[in-house]
Symmetry: C2
DNA sequence: AGTGAAAAACAATGGCG
DNA sequence: CGCCATTGTTTTTCACT
């Protein structure tokens, strides 16, 4: 069920997605709304779950996290139990930013962020590959990141 | 020039990365610091660029964005100018959440979020493929997303 | 390094046009 | 929806340890 979002809502979401540190007053100036209306709409959008959360975006380099990699994982035995345990492991791994099952020849695609190549190797060889469900792992390292903001397109 | 982050800083970053809507008072209670110190440390971390920004995380489903895909792009003519124009295009495309150059057989990997498969097809066939630098495009659709929080691991 | 209290800024609500 | 006023929170600064 799709909620009714009007133009103000979309503008508000666009601003908040880009910068949630602005005051309601400042947001209002940008989208043409009074601060009190911004407040009310925000609350509604939070209530309705359109806004999931607010978070700080950190700088990976400042934290010594220099390596981003995409790791494709192919499972061997496709038992329900094996898959479940693999998913549990992956979900709990802090180095894994994203994990999806994909169409195509690879079962899972992981986005991994670690300090250096040694740490990547540790993740792959000491965590992923030893898992009994895992048959094959193939990683590609991000050499350059053009864009990494994960901003949703708001029509 | 790695900045010196102590245990309090790491705890603070961990909390803020997870929930930036907490008050300094609440954060202080969690990490064992007074609100004023939380405020002071936050400002320093923002100043130093460890905290890049604050943003709202939106719910893709609530916004009618049902399809996430990874799109691998191979360039044909590897001229400097072609590559530059491709990067400009990709950076400007709102459907593209992430774009990296990768090691391996694919030149670029894009994470794309769109409304439906028709919209994905439009992005691929009407935007990516017609670009003169692009030789080949291969997309995999995320069937299930186990994790998508892009939280950095803080040792 | 840290605390606690005061001052300033802000968010949230209600009433009215 | 704008505007205004009010109330309660929250952030930030300052004095002090």
């Amino acid at each position: 069920m799709s909620l009714a979002l009007d133009g103000f809502d979309l503008k508000l979401l666009r601003v908040l997605q880009d910068n949630a540190a602005l005051t309601n007053q400042e947001i209002g100036e940008r989208i043409g709304l009074s601060a009190s209306q911004v407040s009310r709409r925000r609350q509604r959008l939070e209530q309705d779950g359109v806004i999931r959360r607010y978070r700080a975006t950190l700088d990976p380099d400042a934290l010594g996290l220099g390596v981003t990699a995409y790791v494709g994982v192919t499972l061997g035995a496709h038992s329900r139990e094996n898959a479940r345990r693999f998913r549990e492991m992956v979900t709990a791994m802090p180095e894994v930013q994203e994990a999806h099952t994909l169409t195509g020849d690879v079962d899972y695609m992981l986005k991994v962020v670690v300090k250096d190549l040694k740490a990547l190797s540790r993740v792959i060889n000491d965590e992923l590959l030893p898992h009994e469900a895992v048959q094959n792992v193939r990683s590609s390292i991000a050499m350059e990141t053009l864009k990494d903001d994960n901003s949703l397109p708001l029509s």
